[in-house]
C-alpha cells in the first residue's frame, strides 16, 4: 500500500485522530494550567498543610510514569467504585502529570523575581495583594512562557497514552497501532504520517511560544 492507498482507506480516521489529539491537548493543557495555578498558590501559601499537600502532589505526579498513572486511573480506580469513561481516564492522567510540571514552571518563575523587588514593592506602600498582582504574578507569567510552551508540546506527546486504552475515535498513536495491526504489509507508512503530524505541531507550537516569549520576556 502507498500513501494514496493509506489515505483512501484511512484518511477520515486520520483527520479524526488529528482532531482528537489536538482537542485532548487543548482541554488537558487548559485544565492543567488552572490546576497549576491552584497548586502553586497552595505551595507558596503560609499555610503549612496546604504547602505540604502541594509539594507532595508535585513530587508524586512529576515522578510517576504516565503509563503507570493511566493504568491506575483506568484499571485500578474502578475497583474503588470510581469508573470513568476511557477518554476521561486519559485526560485525568495527562492533566495530573502536566499540572505538576506546570506548577514547577510557575515556582521557577516566582523564584526568578528575587526578594529585593518584593521588598521594594512593600516599601513604596503596596499591599500584599497589590504586590502579588502588580509585581509577582506578571513577572511569573512572563517568564513561564517558554517552559509552558514546552509543557504544551509535552502535553500533546503525553496524549499518546490514549493508545493504551480503547478510544473511539482514536488519537494519532493509537491509530498507528490499529492500522499497523490490521494491514500486515503497510510498513512504516502510518507511523510516518503520525510522526510528521506530531513533529510538525511541536515545531509550530515552539515557534509560537518563542514569538510570544520574545515580546514579553523580562530582561534581567
Amino acid at each position: 500500500m502507498d500513501y494514496a492507498g493509506l489515505f483512501a482507506a484511512y484518511g477520515d480516521k486520520y483527520l479524526l485522530a488529528v482532531f482528537e489529539t489536538l482537542s485532548m491537548t487543548a482541554v488537558c493543557f487548559a485544565i492543567a494550567m488552572v490546576l497549576s495555578v491552584l497548586i502553586t498558590v497552595m505551595r507558596v501559601s503560609p499555610i503549612k498543610p496546604l504547602r505540604l499537600v502541594g509539594d507532595l502532589y508535585v513530587q508524586v505526579f512529576r515522578n510517576i510514569p504516565g503509563v503507570a498513572l493511566l493504568i491506575i486511573v483506568a484499571y485500578a480506580l474502578p475497583y474503588l467504585k470510581v469508573t470513568l469513561p476511557w477518554k476521561t481516564c486519559v485526560e485525568v492522567a495527562v492533566v495530573l502529570l502536566a499540572s505538576a510540571f506546570g506548577s514547577e514552571n510557575f515556582m521557577t518563575g516566582i523564584n526568578a523575581i528575587g526578594v529585593g523587588q518584593i521588598e521594594a514593592a512593600r516599601s513604596i506602600g503596596l499591599t500584599f495583594t497589590q504586590t502579588m498582582t502588580k509585581i509577582v504574578i506578571p513577572q511569573a507569567l512572563r517568564s513561564a512562557v517558554l517552559p509552558m510552551t514546552n509543557l504544551l508540546i509535552a502535553t500533546m506527546l503525553t496524549t499518546a497514552l490514549g493508545s493504551q486504552v480503547p478510544l473511539n475515535p482514536q488519537e494519532l498513536t493509537g491509530l498507528v497501532s490499529y492500522i499497523t495491526t490490521r494491514e500486515t504489509a503497510i510498513g512504516i507508512l502510518p507511523f510516518t504520517v503520525s510522526a510528521v503530524v506530531y513533529a510538525g505541531f511541536s515545531v509550530l507550537m515552539g515557534l509560537a511560544g518563542n514569538a510570544i516569549d520574545k515580546r514579553v520576556r523580562v530582561i534581567r
Binding site: 529585593g116 523587588q117 521594594a120 512593600r122 516599601s123 513604596i124 499591599t127 497589590q130 502588580k134 530582561i219
Partner: protein
C-alpha cells in the same frame, strides 16, 4: 521652646537572629530635616536597624515610633506608613518587567491613586531631576547601576516621603558611578529631606550629615557630629574602625 516630635524614634529596640543578638537596646531619634549616617563594620547591625524602621525586619522588643505614632504591624496601616517613608536599597530593586517611567508611577497610581497624567508628569520631573529622563521608556536592565539607583531614588521621591532610608545605596556600584548617586543624595539633604543613610562613604558622611551614629556588634557605640566623630572619636572601637578604613 517645646521640642518637636522626632520623625523617627527607636526606644530600647532588640532583635535576635537565632543566637545572634543583632540589635541591642537601640535608642535613636531622627528629627525633621536631619541627616543621620549609620556607619560601622559589616555585621554591626546597621543595615538591620535601617530595615526595621519600615518593618522590612521585625523587632523582638522595644518601640519604633514614626512621628510619635507606633509603627503598625500589618495590613493597610503598615502599607500606608511605608508609603510615607522612602527606601533605597543596595541592589536598586527596580521592577524588572516595567519601564523606568512605570517604575516611578506605580506607587503614586496604586497607593496614592494619583491620575495617570499627573503621575507621569511628576515622574518625568523627578527623572529629570536625577538626570535619567532620557531613559524613561527603557527597562531597568538596559540602564547602568548608577542610573538604576537614581531611578530608585526617584521612585521613592514620587511618594512624597516624610523621610528616606538609604541602605548602602552605593555599595553595589562601580566606583565611577558612586558620585552621580551621592550628588543626588547631597541635593536631597540640602533641600531638607530627613534621611537615614547606611554607608561606607566617609566623605559623604562628613560633608552632609548632621550626626554620625557608629555601630558595632549590634550596639550603638557612639554618636556625634561628623567633626566630633571623625576628628575625635571617643571609643576605641570607633578609633580602630576609622584607622582601618583610612589605612588603605
Amino acid at each position: 521652646m517645646p521640642t518637636q516630635t522626632p520623625v523617627i524614634e527607636m526606644r530600647h529596640v532588640d532583635k535576635h537572629y537565632g543566637p545572634l543578638h543583632v540589635l541591642q537596646d537601640i535608642n535613636l531619634s531622627v528629627d525633621k530635616g536631619e541627616v543621620v549616617v549609620l556607619i560601622g563594620p559589616s555585621g554591626s547591625g546597621k543595615s538591620t536597624l535601617c530595615r526595621t524602621i519600615n518593618r522590612l525586619e521585625t523587632i523582638d522588643s522595644g518601640e519604633i515610633l514614626i512621628e510619635g505614632e507606633p509603627l503598625p504591624q500589618e495590613g493597610k496601616q503598615l502599607a500606608q506608613m511605608r508609603a510615607e517613608i522612602g527606601m533605597v536599597f543596595q541592589s536598586f530593586n527596580l521592577f524588572a518587567h516595567k519601564t523606568i517611567l512605570d517604575n516611578v508611577t506605580l506607587g503614586p497610581r496604586e497607593v496614592l491613586k494619583t491620575p495617570k497624567d499627573v503621575a507621569e508628569r511628576e515622574a518625568m520631573e523627578l527623572l529629570a531631576r536625577v538626570g535619567v529622563e532620557a531613559q524613561a521608556h527603557k527597562v531597568p536592565a538596559q540602564l547602568s547601576g548608577g542610573q538604576q539607583q537614581r531611578v530608585a531614588i526617584a521612585r521613592s521621591l514620587a511618594m512624597h516621603p516624610k523621610a528616606m532610608l538609604f541602605d548602602e545605596p552605593t555599595s553595589a556600584l562601580d566606583p565611577e558611578m558612586i558620585n552621580e548617586v551621592l550628588e543626588v543624595m547631597v541635593e536631597l539633604a540640602r533641600e531638607g529631606m530627613t534621611m537615614v543613610v547606611v554607608t561606607h562613604e566617609m566623605n559623604f558622611a562628613r560633608r552632609v550629615s548632621n550626626r554620625v551614629v557608629f555601630m558595632a556588634d549590634g550596639q550603638i557605640v557612639e554618636e556625634g557630629t561628623p567633626d566630633e566623630f571623625f576628628d575625635h572619636p571617643k571609643s576605641l572601637r570607633a578609633k580602630d574602625f576609622l584607622d582601618s578604613i583610612r589605612g588603605h
